[in-house]
């Protein structure tokens, strides 16, 4: 395994009965890269992500995440990745501090580590005054930023972000991406899905899934050149319109 690759995927396939959800996809993600994983609803993104997170066994093909095999070393994978989704991220009826403590504890971090890092994190997020407030009482934008911080609290090599900015206001959306940039600059690999095509432009490289396959993979600029269009929105529409299957 080359150690400059955070993720290596070769002919990865998942079938449910006679339905091929993920159809022999191959790609690599470099360490510290911001990798956009796009596709229409039902293209197979969630299934692919679940395999990469060690939550679902592939039918065939090969994949390594953080150097660990997706068939045999799923527990190692889980320890070395972070995960955040729009739908579920934090416990609303726990306080900010309790949420951090819970997640860090699950990842087996020491009390000393948790204490020291929690203080630093609350300061960075300007959440010191809210440390003992219930997460449910925070505005959505703060929740999402806190959720991202919690997802990388145990210092994973890779963080999977599943539509992290859905429904978030345009200013907070940009603050969120600023956090992504900083995490990537510190060497964390970012694997992100989004329905906002302007966010695709913020990725180093973007893949677009159509009907279980990866139909395009390159830098945003190269993709626009390849399809002779001026925006990622047009690239996406061009590819996704060809899709024959419609949904999860």
């Amino acid at each position: 395994m080359q150690n400059d690759k955070a993720i290596q995927v070769e002919q990865l396939t998942k079938r449910f009965g006679d339905f091929t959800a993920v159809d022999a996809i191959s790609f690599e993600v470099n360490k510290g890269e911001i990798f956009g994983f796009l596709g229409a609803n039902g293209a197979g993104k969630t299934t692919a992500m679940r395999m990469l997170c060690g939550l679902s066994l592939p039918t065939s093909g090969k994949a390594a995440v953080a150097g660990f095999d997706v068939y045999k070393q799923t527990e190692h994978i889980k320890r070395n990745i972070g995960y955040m989704s729009q739908k579920f991220s934090l416990y609303e009826d726990l306080t900010v501090k309790e949420n951090i403590r819970l997640y860090a504890g699950i990842y087996g971090k020491s009390n000393a580590f948790i204490k020291e890092k929690t203080a630093r994190l609350l300061q960075q997020l300007h959440l010191e005054a809210e440390a003992n407030k219930l997460v449910g009482s925070l505005p959505l934008g703060w929740k999402q930023k806190l959720a991202f911080s919690v997802a990388v609290f145990h210092e994973p090599q890779i963080v999977f972000l599943d539509e992290p900015t859905g429904g978030v206001d345009p200013v907070t959306r940009r603050e969120f991406w600023n956090m992504i940039y900083h995490a990537a600059a510190e060497g964390v690999t970012i694997f992100v899905t989004t329905h906002y095509m302007d966010e695709a432009e913020y990725c180093n490289r973007v893949s677009i899934m159509v009907d279980g396959r990866i139909d395009a993979l390159d830098t945003p600029n190269a993709l626009k050149k390849q399809f002779n269009v001026t925006s990622m929105d047009e690239v996406f529409l061009h590819l996704a319109r060809k899709a024959t299957r419609s949904d999860n």
Partner: protein, 306 residues
């Protein structure tokens, strides 16, 4: 008569000790037959507003009418006249597609055949699966069934709460095409969305944040209200460029915008100066046309924080 009138509606949640104010005295009117968009992020108060107008929630203050009826006094009349598609899928998962539609037709004392013409365009797309349980449908098909169920009693006003949230760009475009067709049938449609790029599809857009309306206008009118010159800029180091732009004294605001940064300038003189400066330093810079997202961010800056 206006299809919807809203006067100083206030909505609060919680106890006396700890209240969250969801709506801070909102007022607006919707013309009959309009496609009216309420655009704002999660937590703006869109759902509270829709629930008040569909008589599912009482406001603390203010008044509102739908199709000429008062939302408190005449709630029964309103319930017969409106269609409501909530943000969460709210059909019966253990009934089939056809059973769901029939159920909603029956509780409004009508039948599928009586109003089939109205839902035909949408329902025909899922009709091949009419014996399938609603719970087993894909996201896009659920959305079409929910819209059909909200329409089957031929409502005069249709409320759609975030119908396109979590839906991919292609399906979102298709959904708005469906709404345009419905509008041609004379139905007034109020639709909420967190996606700024959907504003252009509406006759009128109300931008909403933290329980207040930031602006109400046509899409073009909203954009015309953006008074500052706007530049688009990029170079090979976008993060550094953003920091440099933010530090410039002539810059009101700078933020990433797709492959460029958008730079809001104090005035034309400052814009000309910065444009020249950027070009001399190997950056690309040109006049940008603001869109709804630029407007929204500019308006957010004037609002008190929550």
């Amino acid at each position: 008569m206006k299809a919807v009138t809203v006067n100083n509606i206030v909505k609060k949640y919680g106890t006396k000790k700890e209240t969250v104010q969801a709506l801070h005295g909102i007022s607006f009117e919707v013309e009959q037959g309009a496609l009216y968009g309420i655009i704002g992020p999660d937590g703006a108060g869109k759902t509270s507003l829709f629930r008040i107008l569909t008589t599912l929630l009482l406001a603390e203050e203010g008044s509102a009418t739908v199709d000429g009826f008062d939302v408190v006094k005449d709630y029964k009349a309103i319930r017969k006249r409106v269609g409501y598609m909530p943000g969460r899928f709210s059909l019966y998962p253990d009934l089939t597609v056809e059973e769901n539609l029939e159920f909603f037709a029956t509780i409004f004392n009508t039948s599928i055949s009586e109003n089939y013409d109205l839902v035909k365009d949408i329902y025909s797309q899922i009709e091949p699966f009419k014996k399938r349980m609603a719970g087993k449908l894909s996201g896009g098909m659920k959305q079409k069934l929910a819209l059909s169920c909200a329409l089957i009693h031929r409502p005069s006003v249709l409320f759609l709460d975030e119908p396109t949230t979590g839906v991919d760009a292609v399906s979102r475009k298709e959904f708005w095409e469906m709404l345009k067709k419905l509008k041609q049938q004379g139905i007034t449609i109020l639709v909420s969305t967190p996606y700024m790029d959907e504003a252009g599809m509406c006759d009128t857009v109300a931008l909403m944040q933290n329980g207040r309306l930031l602006s109400v206008d046509t899409p073009q009118g909203t954009i015309n209200e953006f008074k500052h010159p706007l530049l688009a800029a990029r170079n090979s180091n976008m993060l550094q460029l953003l920091n440099d732009l933010k530090a410039d004294t002539g810059v009101v605001d700078a933020y990433p915008f797709g492959e460029y940064h958008h730079v809001v300038m104090q005035n034309g003189t400052e814009k000309a100066r910065l444009e020249q400066h950027l070009r001399q330093n190997n950056a690309e810079a040109f006049d940008a046309v603001p869109n709804i997202e630029d407007c929204f961010m500019a308006l957010m800056k004037n609002e008190p924080a929550k």
